[in-house]
Symmetry: C2
Subunit: 218 residues, 2 copies
């Protein structure tokens, strides 16, 4: 598989996960910053290779082989991200770009050994689950902060958007994965939140709250 093919498969996997049944040509094109006509060509090729189901005008769906392939690439990406943060002291907003390259290195032995070096991590630096060798991953039942009500408590376990700007913003306000969060107040006017985290009071905009996952405590 080429880098490009792997990127298509990975993108289709992510798009499908985000609630689409069949993934449309335009959606793929937009996500990958390419033209719909290019997507049609590639999708046809991937279909011939048995990685996805494709019928003209009807979008695509990964086959089992396609799923497996996607999970393998995602596993590599996330393991490399952990390596970059844990072993090389990258900050969590710097790792994505480099991991995009590293995920295409072909060596099963390399990934197995990397996994062992990192002590078989279950989550990447952004809280996303890392598939194991068989493609199984441990998904926390997390909810968006924006969907929570006043007085609820939880633990900050992930971000929805991993853009560098958002991650740097979280660094600045010292909100760190694993922090306990208590919702003090929700402002209905603009959907902003007052929370207590890490012993400090914080105000989060509605936009920020829509990108923070917390694991609810009952």
């Amino acid at each position: 598989m080429t880098h490009s093919e792997e990127n298509y498969i990975k993108t289709i996997f992510h798009l499908r996960k985000n609630g689409f049944k069949e993934v449309s040509t335009n959606a793929i094109a937009e996500q990958m910053d390419t033209k719909p006509s290019s997507v049609t060509d590639m999708v046809r090729k991937l279909s011939e290779k048995g990685l996805l189901h494709y019928k003209k005008y009807q979008g695509v769906k990964l086959t089992d082989l396609g799923q497996t392939t996607a999970l393998s690439v995602i596993r590599k990406h996330r393991l490399w991200e952990v390596f970059l943060v844990e072993k090389l002291n990258f900050s969590w907003d710097e790792v994505h770009e480099v991991a995009e390259q590293l995920e295409h290195i072909k060596s099963e032995k390399l990934i197995d050994k990397l996994d062992r070096l990192l002590d078989y991590p279950k989550y990447d630096p952004h809280g996303d689950p890392i598939p194991d060798k068989n493609g199984n991953m441990q998904q926390l039942d997390k909810v968006l902060l924006s969907s929570c009500k006043a007085s609820e408590k939880g633990i900050f376990v992930g971000v929805k958007n991993s853009s560098s700007e958002f991650l740097k913003y979280l660094d600045k306000i010292q909100l760190v994965l694993g922090n306990e969060i208590e919702i003090l107040f929700k402002e209905m006017y603009d959907d902003s939140f007052q929370i207590m985290a890490n012993g400090k009071k914080l105000v989060l905009s509605g936009k920020a709250a829509m990108n923070i996952y917390i694991q609810n405590k009952k």
Copy 2:
């Protein structure tokens, strides 16, 4: 720079080092397992990019920019090899292929941090020197075992040929980088050597002796 371009530059650097003034089209083609006509095309392109000097029918020579580029790729390759052996417990005969892929990852920060993680190694697992950020490397004044005479002593500091077969052979006879070697006898009939290494007597063929570098003790 593309992977392919980097591979050409690296190959040309190595060929030139091995005693050629101008590197010929055919030599490059043979080394890279491609056709001379492909080399001509690529060499023309690299010349336009200012990485090497090229005049028709007269072979090529790297420019300063080309040298620098080659050393940068070689630095990455060798650092990754150290990482694979030291941190992931690869054996020295398994690292080359994976490092061939990793050497093309583009991130200066990554390499700087990897260098630090490994504590700024000066040599790779085969004894080859690792260029620093400025392209400087510490070349030992080593000689081939095959060029030595009886009673000479030295330290095994490198291999000329890093083929997997040769490296596995050395593993089998337990000859390890850093071992002290004493030449007991050179058999003129077939250029084989009797040596003492590691407290053990070994017989090395002329072929093996031509691929073992030792640092002479005066």
